[in-house]
Structures are given as structure tokens and as C-alpha cells.
């Protein structure tokens, strides 16, 4: 069955404050969706990410170089993702639509390479 990446995007760098009511509310919505995905056999993996400022970039070379900060030079940052299994694009879009609603933000759906 085809697999898809659903990534969750933020317009700018974000802070994670799990104690805030807002974070708890979103967390509950996402948790409910996770359970629904698992129940339907669609859930492969999913996680929320620490802010992009926590990232380190490594580049190959004679010695692998290491720099502080995220790779993408855009304001937009990936805040989390799911890997799902779905019969086809339309089924995947159904999950992506629910993901956007649960996260209250933009998500990107992208198919994984197969074969």
C-alpha cells in the first residue's frame, strides 16, 4: 500500500510550551486523530518536532562539516509529521484534511517513493 508523508508547517519559528491551554487543546485533537489513524490501519509513524532552532546541519566532504540551525533558509518551519499508509491519493487527502484541521495549520501531503 502506498505511503505518504504528511508534514505540519508553521509560518515562523515556534516555541513549544506544553503547559499552555492552547498546546493541550491541540495535543488532544492530534491525539484523537492518531487513535483514529491507528484504528484504521493508516498510522505508520508520527511525531512533533522541537523548534527548528534546535537543528544541526551536516554536510558531506573530506570531513563532514557541522553548522548550527535548520537547513531551510525560509521562515516556514516543519513542526511535525506523520507517515501514513493509504490506498490512494484520495484516501491520503482525506487524512491530510483531518490533519490540517487537528493541527489548525497548513499541512503538506507528499507521496513516498515506491518500487
Amino acid at each position: 500500500m502506498p505511503q505518504y508523508l504528511i508534514s505540519v508547517w508553521h509560518d515562523e519559528e515556534y516555541e513549544v510550551d506544553f503547559s499552555s491551554l492552547e498546546a493541550q487543546r491541540l495535543g488532544q485533537q492530534v491525539g484523537a486523530l492518531n487513535e483514529k489513524m491507528e484504528g484504521a490501519g493508516a498510522w505508520v509513524f508520527g511525531a512533533g518536532l522541537q523548534p527548528a532552532s534546535s537543528a544541526t546541519v551536516l554536510r558531506p566532504g573530506p570531513t563532514v562539516s557541522m553548522t548550527d540551525g535548520p537547513y531551510a533558509e525560509t521562515k516556514e518551519q516543519m513542526g511535525g509529521f506523520w507517515v501514513i499508509e493509504a490506498a490512494d491519493l484520495d484516501a491520503a487527502l482525506d487524512w491530510a484534511r483531518q490533519a490540517a484541521t487537528a493541527c489548525e495549520g497548513a499541512v503538506e501531503l507528499r507521496p513516498m517513493q515506491s518500487d
Partner: protein
Amino acid sequence: MTDDDLATIYRREVGRCTATLIRVLGDVDLAEDAVADAFAIAADRWPATGVPPNPGGWITTTARNRAIDRLRREAKRDDRHLAAHRLLEPDMDPEPTPHLDDLDDLVDVVPDDQLRLLFLCCHPALGADAQVALTLRLLGGLEVPEIARAFVVPEATIAQRLVRAKRKLRDNHAPYALPRPAQLPDRLPVVLAAIALIFTEGHTASAGDELVRVDLSREAIRLSRALAELLPDEPEAVGLLALLLLTDARRPARLAADGSMVRLADQDRSRWDRTLIAEGHDLVRACLRRDQPGPLQVQAAIAAVHADAETAVDTDWSQVVALYDQLHALQPNEVVAVNRAVAVAELRGVEAGLAALDRLDVVRLAPFQPFHATRADLLARAGHGASAVAAYDRALALTTNPVERRFLDEQRERVLADGRPEGGGPR
């Protein structure tokens, strides 16, 4: 058999054949090539043998057999057993040429295939440009240069658009299936919008020297007709067909002999196509009986009211305003509001029309050409010459179509000369 006969058969059958072949072969590119092969064989053989009784079935079967031959050759060469194996079910063992008598048994032509293909081409995951190009290529059978000419863009742009769209659908495992009933309310408007876009592009080209590009309008009507036949219980699909027919009926009167644009009010209504109007009217009445109004049905009803009037003065403007009110409730946007103001001007006078325009969100409408063109016309008719010229200037700055530019330029010159556009003046 003449070349015209073959062209007619091609136009009529190519979408259906491609749609069925995609289902049978499970691959868009393979289906496209196979159908092209089959039509090439037809062009070679039919002049001698005559056109078979079921040309679409002949094409579909021949195309399938060609595709299987090709896959077999490639399977030997590239060891692509799997692809070929999938097609080589015992009952589908191909013959070089189908027996004409057996065609109905051989070819499983499913009307739903065309719908599947239309929903695939107009998948909401594709951009509108890609939807339109893919629909014209696969369902209309238009070649890349034809599509490029129609949209006045380079061939390479269209070719790349098609490759990317097909690739996206394949990489994403887009299903070749009808949307579930629950998905239809989301999916159908996308298909209707794509067909409407094809029609509009043919009706008022955004670039190029001809205002009316007949082929795209006709293509859109063909697609719309097929859709309305396949989804007879979707009133908006019927509404789109009615709207396109009633709009296309005015085509013979839209351009003057010198190629300049003629406004609806000034058109020679004896040149309107009464056959198209009659069919459009029947469809609008059928929609009214069903009583599930949608934006396209209401627009068709407005076009029907215009078609009813023997002269522009006879138009039932109170009916038109009432329909625009209904349309604005269903679809609150600027285009509708501007058109409604035009109808208000006819019903209650130019100043009332201007007042209706002035109540709109002028900032949001600033980049919208019809707002300025409409405002210029109403200002001129109300005798506000200087403001009208300023509005024409703004409209002209936003107009790319040369025929429309010429029309607006002439109106502007008339206002400069005597303060009133031809045929205008408060009514």
C-alpha cells in the same frame, strides 16, 4: 471516407477511447500512445475498408491490442513480465485486427470511464492550468500545439504542464475511480470550473487577436454535454451546459463585421442561434422544476432572461436583478456584485447603478477590470464625463485583450468628444 469524416470520428470518440484504455492498461501515457496508434491505423485502412459500424469500439480494441503487442515486445526486451502479464488474461488474447462482428463482445466500453477520466484530469490536487490542459489533451484529444495556440503560450509550457500533471497523479497514486457520493460536492465544482474556464478562454481570449476562439468553446460544450449526460441528477452539471449553450448562442452577434466587440445591449438579436437558445431554455426549465438552485443554474437563468427579450429594452430587468440577488446569496463575490449593479442601472436608472457600485469594496475591486469598465460606462451615461474618462483609463490599464482594448478606447474617445458614449445616456 474523407479526412473530415475521420476528424469527426476522432473528435467524437477519442476521449471515450482514451478513458477506457486508461482503465484497461492502468497507465495514461500507454493509453495515449495506443489510441494515437489506432487512429493512425484507421486513417490508413478505413479509406479502403470503409468506416466500421462501431468506430469507437474498433479504435478501442485496436489500441488495446497495439498496447499489448508493445508491452510484449518490451517484456522480452526489458524483462517487464509483470506489466505485460497483468494484461494477458486468457480472454483478452489479442489478434492483429479485431473481427468487426465481435467488437461489442470484445470491447468493454463503460460510460463511467469518461467520468473517471474527467475527475482524474480535474483532480483538486492539480492547479487549474494543469486541469484544463490535461482535460483538453486526454478527453478532447487536442494535440500539444493546438492547446498551446488556444492559450497563446509556448508549446514547451503546455508540454511541461502535461508531463508534470501526469507525473504528479502517478507519483501520488491518484485513483482512476469515481468520487464517492460524499466527495462529489467537493469534486464536481472543480470539474465544472475547469470546463467553464475552457469555455471562457474560447469565448473571450485573454490574449491573441481574435475575441472568440471557436474551438475551445465548442470543446467545452462537448465536455459539458457529456458530463450532463453522465450525471443527469446533478443540477449544476445541467446548469453549466445551459449556461454555455445560452452564452454561445450570442456568439454570431458578439463581433461586428470589422471585428470589433458588440455589447449585449447593441447586439443584432436576429443573429443569435435560436436552436442553442431553445435547448438552453429547456435545460433551465428542467433545473427550475428540480428546485435545487446553484450558482451555475442561476447564471443560466439570467442568460435565459436575456435570450427571452426580443430587444435589449424588452429585457425583464427586475427578474435579472432578482436572479443576481439570488446568485450573490449563493456566491458572494465581486464579479456578481458588479454585474448586479449593471442590472440595477437598467432597472432603476444609472445613478442607482452607480450607487450600487459605490457600496462595494473599492479597494478589493481596484485590480478588477470589469469594475472600472462598468463604472466608466455608467459615469459616462450619467453625464460625469471627466470621472468616466478616468475610469476608462483605469480599465484600459487592466485590459490585455486587444478587441476589448479597442472597444474601451473608442468609448473613451466618444466621451472625450461629446461626453456620452454611443447608444448611452441615462435610461
